[in-house]
Amino acid sequence: MLAVTELELDLEAFEGPFDLLLSLVLRDEVSLRDVDLAEVVIAFVGVLAERDELDLEACGEFLVLISALLELKARGLFPDEEAELAELEPEVAAEELARRLAEYRRAKEAASWLAERLAQPRFFRLGPAPLACHGVQDRRALPPQRPEQLAAALRLLAVPPPLPSTAHMALAFPPVAQFVERWRALLRRRTLLDFDQEVRGLTRAEIAVAFLALLELRKQDELALEQAAPFAPIRISRPERERSLAWNVRSG
């Protein structure tokens, strides 16, 4: 069985196992902005390729983790756009995110093209020449201007700015710790929980964080997760039932 969290990564911004990357990201010690998630996908596919048979469980687990990371990254890249994106249909939102990620990637590529141009030093004179022509002075006249331009300029300065949007506050990412506590409290009172039922009514951002909190608790052996089949309900229980787990998130 392939343990996804043990996947060894060698990225520009991070080197080590996948689960360490996850916890560093959750603790804000590594910025997702710097992590090339496509490289993570390639590393995973590479490991899969080395094995004889397709490990569906590992694939499922990996997809859940990588999509959570992608969502986190996307939201980090477009902090002001959460409200707008949340209002879109999921497919449209995904397309919009992909479009913006591509836009950002192109901006980065253009920046590196510019940086290459700078590597070749170019010297030219900034400002006027030390000596001009004998008897000629730089006296640049201004052509006649319309006074209405002044009035228009001042009117533009008097335009009040748009009211700041407060929509993002409703969608801000709650701290993972808050959900860690919530799951612990629930498990103290009940032995078996259904993920979908517990997160009903939460925003997409909150559901993502709730799931990350779950993975964190699972890693610390505080609970067990069970999913009969891909897309089947996720059942959460106390760790005693751990041996019957159908899909394995590596412990410790």
């Binding site: 192109r106 700078l118 300065l157």
Partner: protein
């Protein structure tokens, strides 16, 4: 062709070329063809011919002064062979220490054309107010009016930007499609892995 231009003083084109040399050595910005035509009071065709002659005379490897087509006009700069000597005497305050954030912001403004800080922020994902202020200070971007709807200031790149990066105009920026393969590259690598797997 090897006879030096400057010795043929009876040739009127040579005289025009000398006048253009003079204009370029005192101008503080690249001079456009129209500006050269107006200042020399000559014909555009002849000015272009003279510029061609000067381009041959003042070219890399042949002269320490190099004539280049940049920022929509013509300007002299130092030859690259003299870059080390220039670096001992002059600073490059405009481009020294440009951060990655500054380069990305410049790239966005150069490609999008006049845009506001919120627009750049949307693409870069982080607040760019400080970065834009720094670029304005360096003279690489400048204000370009206000957004009519919200009154936010728009920014554009300056001719100095084109000069520093040696661009004939903004049209000389590479097409974004040409930059990196992006998605295609990832797909190709995945396909390689898949091929290994099925082998």
């Amino acid at each position: 062709m090897e006879r030096p231009l400057r010795l043929i003083s009876t040739n009127p084109l040579d005289e025009l070329a000398r006048t253009i040399e003079a204009l370029l050595v005192v101008a503080s910005q690249p001079l456009s063809l129209e500006e050269l035509v107006a200042a020399t009071a000559d014909e555009a065709v002849r000015v272009e011919e003279a510029l061609e002659v000067l381009g041959e005379r003042y070219r890399e490897g042949r002269s320490g002064i190099v004539l280049e087509r940049v920022a929509g006009g013509w300007a002299f700069r130092a030859s690259t062979a003299a870059a080390a000597a220039c670096a001992r005497l002059f600073e490059r305050p405009v481009e020294r220490g440009l951060s990655q954030a500054a380069l990305e912001t410049l790239a966005v403004i150069a490609y999008l054309g006049p845009c506001t800080r919120p627009e750049v922020t949307r693409i870069r994902g982080v607040n760019v107010d400080g970065v834009v202020a720094g670029l304005v200070e360096r003279g690489l971007v400048a204000e370009a009016g206000r957004d009519e709807e919200f009154g936010a200031i728009r920014y554009r790149t300056t001719p100095l930007f084109e000069r520093v990066f040696g661009l004939e105009s903004l049209a000389a920026l590479p097409r974004l499609d040409d930059l990196g393969a992006g998605a295609d590259e990832i797909r190709a690598r995945l396909e390689t892995v898949a091929a290994q797997r099925s082998a």
